[in-house]
Amino acid sequence: MPVPLLDISALTFEADHHPILDRLDLSIQPGEIHALLGANGSGKTTLAYVLMGCEGYAPGGGRILFNGTDLLPLKMYERARLGLTLAWQEPARFEGVTVREYLSLEKPDFDPAPVLKQVGLDPDRYLNRRVDKSLSGGERHRIELASVLSMNPKLAILDEPAAGIDMLSITHIIDIIRALKAAGGSVLLITHQEEVSLIADRASQLCAGRIIFSGSPREAVDHFRGRSCVRCDGEVCTYVRP
């Protein structure tokens, strides 16, 4: 078994004395696309924030090794410089900042046109636009993915990357996720969309802060869809019961 790129063990996180992540274990191999499924409130996005080191998301216990390095003492940008990044479900908007600048952060010689093309946006139309509220939700999502591509990360955490994207464009999103893998990266893919999750190499189901199932994406989707949750016995995952 190769050494995991991401190795999480017994990770806990509480908010207002309420456990959100409960001794969570998860590992992701180099080059793996790993889908994370779970009902609303199961802890998926919290896990993403804890991994990235967002403010207010310091875990109460456990360990996170990234490429053999303990992430917990590191600040957010230090984690990013190790090759970890996060694409938010609702990406931030930046007044006055152009798409070109946003995709070329601290890389003055970087040509952002190819990554824009990769996400299906015409560089001639978009490079000089602002990453502000003039962009639609779908456009902003694509630019967020282009930003992740431009970083060439070892592990990209994508939180609902296809949210707000029209059905025809979902294949584009799938291509982007595959491109991240083809470039040698891994992806932790948080999604509710079955057709997106099925491109993963492995998938895990999260319930009440703990991984309750890991296996193939098809198995995970079927597990998520067709059964009472073994952990909450339907208390949390009721809406997925048949």
Partner: protein, 311 residues
């Protein structure tokens, strides 16, 4: 070195090239204190200024129907650490004329100095004026600047102003603009200021939408750090059918700086509408974290966000 040369060398601080003063196609005025050091006019533009012991007084007129291709540069300043400059100017953009005025206010070595501007601008029917005002007050924080203006925008006329003070210290800045807009007229006022140390900004912009279908936007972006403070008031009053106004104020506060933003909107006609938004606070956390998740340090992320806001 001459006062003219001192001011000329400072033009790049407000984004202007010194060579504009040599270009015979470009109208300009350069004044140090109450002395006019250089001026040129072009066809369609009349500049009549008089030096007095207490002020430079005069008028700038763009003749009816004139389309002035090159911006008119008005360069006012003080080349010395101390002094007073007062400008009283009437600007008239006659019917159907179009012009751009770039006003450069340069006080590169000011330690204890004052600049007062009292302007009355009239934009005639169907005319258009774009007025860009760039300030540089040097590094010492010893400048006191009071630009006060009344702007009358005629029927179907358009007025765009853009005030910026983005490098060096502000000192004390007290802006007071009153804009009256007649039917189908448009006023867009933008101000961008970066304040540091003990800088103090008072900014009051008031737009009166008097005519039917008159429109306005007041957009203010202020970033404060250290112990700087700002009090921003954006007023829009709509008096006529179809009048539309919006006030948009954002202040980013860092360190021990403090700020207030007061949008005042009043509507006196049932078919008029004025909206406002005001935000004061630190740099947006999500924007900051997004950039840090791409590897920027907190300092680099703040710099990028702030420079975007002030663009």
């Amino acid at each position: 070195m001459s006062d003219l040369e001192d001011l000329r060398r400072t033009l790049p601080m407000v984004g202007a090239e010194p060579a504009i003063l040599d270009d015979t196609r470009i109208a300009h005025v350069v004044a140090h204190g109450h002395h006019i050091l250089s001026h040129r006019t072009v066809p369609g533009v009349r500049v009549e200024l008089e030096e007095t012991p207490d002020a430079i007084i005069g008028q700038l007129i763009v003749e009816a129907g004139a389309q002035i291709a090159q911006p008119i540069h008005m360069c006012f300043g003080l080349a010395h650490p101390t002094g007073v400059q007062q400008i009283k100017i009437d600007v008239e953009i006659c019917e159907g004329a179009q012009a751009r005025v770039l006003s450069h206010c340069l006080f590169p070595v000011a330690q204890s100095a004052e600049h007062r501007m009292q302007a009355v601008m009239e934009i005639g029917p169907g005319a258009s004026l774009t007025y860009t005002e760039g300030h540089y007050h040097g590094p010492h924080g010893g400048m006191r600047v009071l630009p006060h203006a009344t702007i009358k925008i005629g029927p179907g006329a358009r007025y765009f102003s853009d005030f910026s003070l983005l490098s060096g210290s502000v000192g004390t800045l007290d802006i007071d603009y009153l804009v009256e807009v007649e039917a189908d007229g448009l006023a867009e006022l933008s101000a961008k200021i970066f304040a540091h140390k003990t800088d103090h900004i008072t900014l009051k912009e008031a737009v009166m939408l008097r005519g039917e279908r008159s429109r306005s936007l007041i957009k203010t972006r202020v970033v404060l750090e250290d112990q700087a403070q700002a009090d921003i008031v954006g007023i829009t009053e709509a008096y006529a059918k179809g009048a539309r106004g919006h006030v948009d104020c954002m202040e980013i506060v860092q360190g021990r700086a403090h700020a207030s933003a007061i949008p005042i909107v009043r509507v006196f006609h049932p078919e008029a509408k004025v909206t406002h938004e005001a935000a004061i606070g630190s740099v947006d956390k999500k924007e900051l974290e997004t950039l840090m998740a791409r590897g920027l340090s907190p300092e680099q992320a703040v710099e990028m966000i702030v420079s975007g806001i002030l663009r």
